[in-house]
């Protein structure tokens, strides 16, 4: 059942491909020669225009949209994804779908001269190449990718100096957070990404890699699941009890959670009184969109983690 939306998207993409290829002499046939030829055709468009800064950029990922605004290229962004909320100007841009369902027709209709896509959006990339629209493919793994991407993106859109400066500032601010908590005991921390509201079922938490794991380590916490080579871990009740975290940080992403809801959700953990974090009351519910967007606001996320983990360092 869960796969159905993907199927819908795949069918939609297939129909679109059919629509696009129908007009070409090759018709619907899609063989190797065609793929190679289109790759050859698309190549110069991707490589060449670095000296001509794009003027109509479409960013389909909230993180890169925020990066563009942070490097002062916000006024050149012509469209964004359905999930863009920050900065407020980005929320007012035309919404062109998400990772799984980009609205390719509207993307092309906006006549962009650069589209930032996620590297796994294979179909979208193919379509854009065929429409001869240059793309900037983006992948994200760890914390270091944020500033690295900012610098590369800055160079690509002709805002190298501003992007370099913004990236350096982020690195300095992260280092400052790290310095502030340096030398302090690092509590074993469970970083919860989500669970079923009102219960301790389906607890999903940070494993040994990923940008939030990296941020947690910078902010002076020791990831209690750091030994597991997974970005996120489905935790059983038994696992929470045996891992015995000293601090629990629980993330919420709405940015508009009410105080009484905070209190109710925090009390849910009382069912496990032997967990040190429950015993000492060190359970922190943090609500904010910056926790889902690996962009410039990562500094805010790092500082919020550090304040929760080491309140005495911020007095």
């Amino acid at each position: 059942m869960a796969a159905v939306p993907k199927n819908v998207a795949a069918i939609a993409v297939a129909v679109l491909i059919a629509a696009f290829t129908a007009g070409s002499p090759e018709g619907l046939r899609y063989d190797d020669t065609l793929a190679r030829r289109s790759a050859l055709v698309a190549q110069p468009f991707r490589a060449a225009p670095t000296d001509v800064p794009p003027r109509r950029i479409i960013s389909l990922i909230p993180a890169t949209t925020e990066m563009l605004f942070a490097m002062g290229a916000g006024d050149r962004v012509a469209g964004a994804s359905n999930y863009d909320r920050y900065p407020p100007e980005a929320a007012r841009l035309p919404k062109l779908g998400g990772l799984l369902d980009p609205d390719i027709e509207r993307v092309i209709a906006l006549k962009p001269d650069l589209v930032i896509v996620y590297d796994t959006q294979v179909d979208l990339k193919k379509q854009l190449e065929r429409a001869r629209i240059p793309i900037f493919p983006y992948v994200h793994r760890g914390l270091a990718d944020i500033t690295q991407t900012m610098r590369a993106l800055g160079a690509r859109v002709g805002a190298k100096a501003a992007a370099d400066a913004a990236a350096t500032r982020i690195e300095q601010q992260l280092a400052a957070v790290g310095a502030r908590v340096a030398g302090r005991a690092r509590p074993k921390t469970l970083l919860v990404f989500g669970r079923e509201q009102g219960t301790l079922r389906h607890v999903n938490a940070s494993g040994g890699y990923g940008f939030l794991h990296d941020v947690l380590e910078i902010a002076g916490g020791a990831d209690v699941l750091g030994d597991l080579r997974k970005q996120s871990v489905d935790m059983s009740t038994e696992m929470i009890l045996t891992r015995a975290p000293e601090v629990i940080i629980e993330l919420h992403y709405s940015g508009e959670m009410k105080p009484e809801a905070f209190e109710a959700e925090r009390r849910v953990w009382d069912a496990m009184p032997s967990v040190p974090a429950v015993k000492t009351g060190r359970i922190y519910l943090l609500d904010g969109q910056e926790f889902v967007v690996p962009g410039p606001r990562i500094v805010v996320a790092a500082e919020r983690f550090a304040r929760a983990l080491h309140p005495e360092a911020f007095r």
Binding site: V4, T199, N204, D234, T237, M239, L241, T242
Partner: protein, 346 residues
């Protein structure tokens, strides 16, 4: 109902009362052993002496908390869900006169899934007597689906044929699945993840409140099931011949439909969809005890519980400290077993 209805397919010549005793004793021992042993095994080693050591305060006693918070509710949930799904499977197979019928066939579990997806996607945040929004919405969804199917079955004045009920139910299931896909499509990234995870099933209930809540509809379902064994034997042969023997077909079918749906709704809202239990347990049990529903029903209830406790034990230990969703284990074990059964019969 006639005073005496002879058992059908009676190859076994021993009186049914004696066979029932042996059946319940055998499967009961298995279920009891599963209930007692499963909480002792897990990804961590615990000491039973420490669990019941009153000198350690509960707040400090990790062994006791692992036993009472992590494992015991889980084993109880597995026992209830497994037996409810197996019973519902037996009843649907007899009612619809179709060996492929399962608790999922009539759309009740799809209704439960839709309820849960909506609670997660639209962030419903309420609770009732300690039960959170997702299981509540899930149970409401299953009852909504039951209302549609029940409406279908009573739309005609005098009962309805198994074929109509089956086709109607399958269509409701397909329709609800499409709505589930639509709700999924509306969900954002983090919600989609939780939706998918819910659809894989989990018995890690982490408290007793949802189990107690599930017992309410389950008691009603059990009361319904208790009236069924003899008449199901007749119905599974054919409703005409059952009617000829004086069975009130219409009433029996409704009791069967409502009881099996309540059991399914309770099970799915507690654990999420757990596939194959409702289909393979009844077939395995019939291989062992024959087709007499007076034996099949209690045996399936006991064996279904034991089977799911076993599957969940595999799910939580095989990749420890991580664990597999129990729905994957039941499908991986249940799928091949069912195929084996199928080819054995061909």
């Amino acid at each position: 109902m006639p005073a005496r209805v002879e058992a059908i397919g009676g190859v076994n010549r021993r009186p049914v009362r004696q066979r029932l005793l042996w059946t319940v004793a055998g499967f009961g021992t298995l279920a009891l052993a599963a209930c007692l042993l499963a909480p002792l095994v897990g990804s961590t080693r615990i000491s039973l002496a420490a669990v019941f050591d009153r000198s350690i305060p509960y707040g400090e006693n990790i062994d006791a908390q692992i036993f009472f918070v992590a494992r015991l509710p889980r084993v109880l949930a597995a026992a209830l869900v497994g037996s409810a799904l197996a019973l519902a499977g037996v009843v649907f197979q007899a009612l619809l006169r179709n060996p492929l019928a399962s608790p999922d066939t009539l759309g009740v579990s799809a209704g439960a899934a839709l309820g849960a997806m909506m609670a997660i996607t639209f962030g419903l945040d309420f609770s009732l007597l300690g039960i959170s929004a997702v299981p509540l919405a899930s149970f409401a969804g299953s009852m909504g689906a039951l209302a549609i199917v029940y409406g279908l079955s009573t739309a005609r004045r005098r009962g309805t044929s198994a074929v109509v009920l089956l086709l109607g139910g399958v269509t409701v299931h397909a329709l609800l699945s499409a709505v589930i896909a639509f709700v999924q499509y509306l969900a954002d990234f983090t919600q989609t993840f939780r939706n998918v995870r819910w659809l894989m099933g989990s018995l890690d209930v982490a408290s007793y409140a949802p189990i107690v809540a599930a017992l309410v509809p389950l008691f009603v379902a059990w009361a319904g099931f208790a009236t069924l064994p003899r008449v199901l034997d007749l119905i599974s042969v054919g409703s005409e011949s059952a009617a000829a023997r004086g069975v009130n077909i219409e009433r029996t079918e409704r009791v069967a439909l409502v009881s099996a749906s309540l059991a399914t709704g309770a099970a799915v809202s507690l654990a999420g969809p757990v596939s194959f239990v409702g289909i393979i347990v009844p077939h395995l049990v019939r291989l062992i005890v024959g087709a007499d529903h007076r034996l099949v029903l209690p045996a399936s209830a006991l064996f279904g519980g034991a089977f799911l406790i076993g599957c969940d034990l595999v799910a939580r230990t095989i990749v420890a400290p991580l664990e597999l969703p129990v729905g994957i284990v039941t499908a991986i074990i249940g799928g091949p077993v069912f195929l084996w059964l199928l080819f054995r019969r061909m």
